[in-house]
Symmetry: C2
DNA sequence: CTGAAAGCGCTTACAG
DNA sequence: CTGAAAGCGCTTACAG
């Protein structure tokens, strides 16, 4: 029996046809001719009985579980994972697939990660999605190569597993362009100091924009520190102390921006009148709760989750191998709040 | 075929027994006598082949899917949901159950919520967990009553579905007691103004502690506003403006506390020297990124998720109906950071 | 102590 | 255009 106790034979009986026909109609089996009238009768009977197929029976017969696994780091710590899950889920539902989620602890060993993947394989998922907490290059667990898989927010060092990541360069370009268009020419960049793709790529974007607008690059305006509130605060204090301070700050992430807010407050600088700030990440909890709200760049977590499932479905459907010219990059849109304004014409040194 | 293509017959063949025996041994079927020697042979064969049962076949045969559904509001917006998921997942895995998650939009209609539940039922879950984003009294979707279910962070208005919620009174008692023990007697309470259980129960806890320590209640020190940063800021400004200002603030949540930090900064009050603050929620992103770190009360999300699954398992196992003397309340522990100190002996008015 | 056999509810070649 | 039948991989009464 399936959902609520009605099976395919009940539908067949009510419609006055064989279960074969019911199956064909309800699954739209290709190359099967069933009269329009019979189809209608079957559908009506199914609807009337509230019939839904028994998934276990179908899975057993077709050898497809209808499950796809999502292995995600630190589900509980950041809302980022939540948005990946949402995107993946919505896409999964559209294909009548069920998402099974497993949490991975970030600092765990390679063998622990193999175990996470194994958990999913034991649950008979048809494919697995592997999401990291922030954009990283990783070497994937060995057993991940033996199932259809897609990486989210991570790229495979060996370039064999398809991957989707944020367009970091583009995001930085968007942020800095926003500042330039507001009239700023002295724009500081509080960068992360980890050797991760975002660090390098956002710097590239920053430079591109300045170059494109003929603004000379002042190396004093680019500094690096761990991407936390406190280091962000310290960096901002330093950078805002000098005579020729920047009129705007582009921050590697919202937490560093939070530190910059504090530095500005201590120096008596009003945001956005005396200082404009743009962050990165769009962590609602921070960005929306600062005064004024932080204008920042959003990471496309939902979209990456969605893209990953769509790609998996194509993979499972045997559609042409994904082109392997590197990972797919998704747009990072600007979220405008209140932290950017035109620079003051006469600001005091 | 099951995982990696090996089925029960392969194990049977290798062990030189029937598949019946393999099944009995691997499932530890009660009341079945199999010689120790045979058992060992079977287990060894299974291990050697890396055998795992085909879950679809088992589900079909036993009419148990091994799936439990979790319907959670706003998975993508707060890390709270993430911790519920984690707790539920760990417990589910311990019982060899797989968790299937569905996101519910918070403001959606009753019929939308029925649809969410239906999605889960269609996926043939054995039971469902229903989690709200914050402690609420709700009227559960009608179809939720037709499956084994447990509420998380919510109570059923009609008291029929088992539920687990945070011990709000206890959490407030812990917070305010911490302040009293640090030496404070004038403790302000920035409360929420929504008519939700937490609002009322945290106030009860606040009063209890003052009463217990013989501290008279000053109604000027209890104010209500929406539980956001800005209203928290405004309330704190008001309360800290007067002559006889409190030396400590207990805030309904971390966001209001964030507002209080800003008010303190504007008034030149150092935290914790001039003003101690305790929050509620333990939202890492806020609490850990404030200066100094915010001492706050944690909500037992992980534990609620865990408890809910354990309860569901007992329900499915037909164990005694849960006692219906209201929802189960779980502890809200204090997380100490740097925002509490003894009050200054001579503070200026 | 062990095994042969039925059957869970579907899908799918195949026959007509 | 429609249906009878096999079979997916297990579990479980039942027989011996």
């Amino acid at each position: 029996m399936a959902v609520n106790g009605v099976g395919i034979r009940d539908v067949a009986r009510l419609a006055g046809v064989s279960i074969t026909t019911v199956s064909h109609v309800l699954n739209d089996t290709p190359n099967t001719r069933v009269s329009a009238e019979t189809r209608a009768r079957v559908r009506e009977a199914a609807a009337q009985l509230g019939y839904g197929p028994n998934r276990a029976a179908r899975a057993l017969r077709t050898n497809r579980s209808g499950l796809i696994g999502l292995l995600s780091e630190e589900i509980a710590t950041t809302p980022h994972a939540g948005r990946i899950i949402l995107g993946a889920q919505d896409a999964a539902r559209a294909h009548d697939l069920t998402l099974v989620i497993v949490n991975a602890e970030r600092e765990s060993s390679a063998s622990a990660h193999e175990d996470y993947v194994q958990t999913l394989i034991d649950r008979q998922v048809e494919a697995v999605l592997y999401a990291t907490m922030y954009h990283r290059r990783i070497s994937v667990p060995a057993n991940l190569r033996r199932v259809p898989a897609v990486l989210i927010d991570a790229t495979d060092e060996d370039g064999v597993v398809p991957a989707v990541v944020p367009d970091e360069v583009g995001g930085a370009v968007t942020a800095v362009t926003h500042l330039v268009e507001a009239g700023h020419r002295r724009i500081g960049f509080l960068n992360n100091d980890d050797d991760v793709p975002a660090t390098h790529e956002r710097l590239i974007g920053y430079r591109q924009v300045l170059h494109r607008h003929g603004i000379p690059i002042d190396e004093h305006l680019v500094r690096q520190a761990p991407s936390e509130t406190l280091p962000g605060y310290a960096l901002a204090r330093e950078m805002l102390a000098g005579d020729d301070r920047p009129t705007a700050l582009f921050c590697y992430n919202d937490r560093m921006a939070m530190g910059a807010y504090r530095a500005a407050a201590e120096l008596g600088l009003d945001i956005p009148r005396d200082l404009s700030i743009v962050g990165f990440d769009n962590q609602e909890l921070i960005a929306a709760n600062l005064f004024p709200g932080l204008t920042t760049v959003a990471l496309p977590h939902y979209e990456m989750g969605e893209w990953a499932v769509e790609t998996l479905v194509r993979l499972l459907g045997g559609e042409a191998e994904l082109p392997h010219d590197g990972p797919t990059r998704l747009d990072c849109p600007l979220v405008t709040r209140g932290s950017v304004a035109a620079p003051q014409p006469h600001r005091k040194a």
